[in-house]
């Protein structure tokens, strides 16, 4: 039996219950706002805002960033997904607080030291950043929300992400096993 004292983290929620609740959150989102959940879009907005801060001229001329600065456009950080992801930070924190899981730490496979884990996390994040631009969304925005509205893109992206994960898992086994 897991120790129930205050200092040990609580057990995670039953995955089906968590999935059901996540589904209800997504359903409420679509019902109220007509759109789905997302994450990579906020990262894109942050990247655009950062470029604008460091190299405003480049941001306003490069073909990828330019659409953000057309007349009548709001600041890239004043976007739905940025607010939503700010909420994810708060919600994640509250959940961690409630379940005793707040801890500054690096989580890695048994054979991986922290700095190596950071490098691979950075690399993985970068690949997600690139892939999400091509697929117009990540696991949340393209796959999960797309599947909920039965979009073909949602299913294709989901199959590609998980298929590729399984296909390449062998080569990355040292990182996790």
């Amino acid at each position: 039996m897991p120790d129930k004292s205050a200092s040990t983290p609580s057990r995670y929620m039953d995955p089906y219950l968590a999935g059901f609740l996540l589904g209800l959150v997504l359903l409420a989102t679509v019902f109220l706002t007509g759109r789905g959940l997302g994450a990579s879009g906020a990262i894109k907005d942050a990247a655009v805002a950062a470029t604008d801060l460091v190299a405003p001229r480049h941001a306003q001329t490069a073909p990828f960033f330019r659409p953000y600065f057309e007349p009548g456009k709001e600041h890239p950080l004043k976007s739905w997904l940025v607010f939503e992801v700010a909420g994810v930070l708060i919600g994640g924190f509250l959940s961690g607080l409630l379940s005793n899981r707040l801890k500054v730490t690096t989580e890695s496979g048994p054979r991986v030291a922290a700095p190596q884990r950071w490098i691979f996390a950075l690399l993985g994040g970068a690949l997600f950043g690139i892939g999400a631009q091509l697929a117009r969304g990540c696991t949340s925005g393209a796959a999960l929300s797309g599947m909920a509205v039965l979009s073909t893109a949602g299913f294709v992206t989901m199959l590609a992400i998980f298929g590729s994960g399984f296909a390449f898992a062998y080569f990355a086994r040292r990182l996790w096993l």
Binding site: A18, G23, S40, C138, G141, A143, L150
Partner: protein
């Protein structure tokens, strides 16, 4: 009828809502254990199938809810955002993300939830995400061409495959439930401390059974539109639900009179409508009537709503549908559009009057012809009174 953006919920309120939705999203992600990269990566090595369970349960739940809300008329499925498909970019992008998943141990949403509870590797992943977008942005001129290939638009997966939405949903639920059972079996053999050993087996069996039952219901329920149209089109329904009829002369009189409490709903095709656009009319289709764009127009209670179509019966179906949907004062043009076209919008000479009364009617008709022609020309000059296209819902990542 949802969705409530942008007509009910303002842009500002929508951002507040985004924050609240995000809080719920982040809370559930963290509670599910998605803040742990080892758990997420575990899927790909068969030692932890949490991701699969949460992900497919969530997708199935939301999908089922959306279909049911649409079926019962609470959500306008034609108005919600459906992310468009760029087939090859989606496949290649997905493959790149899959590699990112196995190397980084997170996806963007889960990395934020993990960063929130202090995972340093998750912060690196988030920074990596920004770096990746910047790299993509710099390489964009090279990738732009490929990025725009095989664009299919906002296609639905059931159309791509060629089945009904309900059947597709049923198949997906069935596959998910089977996959859940199969992976539990695998997990318990690969991992001695598999979390599944702590689950409430009976409760899970009941939930799985209930999910499949809902799936069967989705498969056999006709969609709302088909069901409603079948009902209002049936002779039995039409026999017991009389629709007030209006003949061409009365309609012409109201038009000449410029009665502000009159609205004509024209069911003819776009070309016919453009060729002869009656004053106070808008073009609608039966599909439009089930959507929310036309709702405020149809919902004006004091307005007399006359449905016109080439055939009287077509107009009757629409008027019955309007009444069925709860809109009041729907009536139908008797004899179809041909009658009003012949009497008031043609050069066809009117029959010679036999007596004084007929002569008066004839004179009135001739006056009405000229008057209506003037009204139509006037409206054309001002630009036809088409219903305004509403703002599209933005979405996606």
């Amino acid at each position: 009828m949802g969705p409530f953006v942008p007509n009910v919920i303002s842009d500002q309120l929508n951002l507040v809502l985004a924050l609240l939705i995000g809080v719920a999203f982040g809370f559930v992600l963290e509670q599910a254990g998605f803040s742990s990269s080892r758990r997420l990566a575990g899927l790909f090595y068969g030692y932890d199938f949490t991701v699969l369970r949460v992900f497919f349960t969530a997708a199935g739940t939301a999908m089922t809810g959306i279909l049911l809300l649409g079926y019962f008329g609470y959500l306008d499925l034609s108005a919600i955002y459906v992310n468009p498909t760029w087939l090859w970019p989606a496949i290649v992008g997905g493959i790149v993300m899959g590699v990112g998943f196995i190397l980084g141990g997170y996806c963007p949403g889960t990395s934020v939830a993990a960063a929130a509870i202090g995972k340093i590797d998750a912060w690196w992943f988030v920074i990596g995400g920004i770096v990746g977008v910047l790299a993509y942005g710099e390489a964009y001129p090279l990738i732009q061409g490929f990025s725009g290939t095989s664009s299919l638009g906002p296609v639905r997966v059931y159309d791509s495959i060629g089945v009904s939405p309900g059947f597709f949903a049923f198949a997906l639920i069935l596959v998910a439930v089977i996959a859940f059972a199969a992976t539990t079996w695998i997990e318990q053999r690969v991992n001695r401390d598999a979390p599944t050993k702590l689950y409430d087996v009976r409760l899970h069996r009941i939930a799985g059974f209930a999910a499949v039952m809902v799936g069967i219901a989705l498969a056999v329920l006709p969609d709302r539109k088909t069901a409603l149209l079948a009902e209002v089109s049936s002779p039995a329904y039409q026999a017991s639900n009389a629709v007030p009829e209006m003949d061409a002369d009365e309609l012409a009189f109201l038009l000449v009179d410029q009665d502000p409490e009159l609205r004509i709903y024209d069911l003819r095709g776009e070309k016919d409508y453009d060729d002869l656009t009656l004053p106070r009319s808008i073009r609608v289709s039966l599909d439009d009537m089930l959507g929310r764009e036309i709702t405020p127009d149809l919902a004006r209670r004091s307005v007399r709503k006359v449905f016109v179509a080439e055939s009287e019966n077509e107009a009757r179906v629409a008027a019955l549908l309007a009444s069925k949907l709860g809109y009041e004062r729907a009536s139908v043009l008797k004899g179809g559009f041909g009658t009003i076209r012949r009497e008031y919008f043609s050069e066809e000479p009117l029959p010679e009057p036999g007596d004084q009364e007929q002569a008066e009617i004839r004179d009135w008709k001739l006056g009405a012809r000229a008057q209506l022609r003037r009204q139509i020309l006037e409206a054309k000059r001002k630009g036809t009174a088409r219903p305004k296209k509403e703002k599209k819902i933005a979405g996606g990542c």
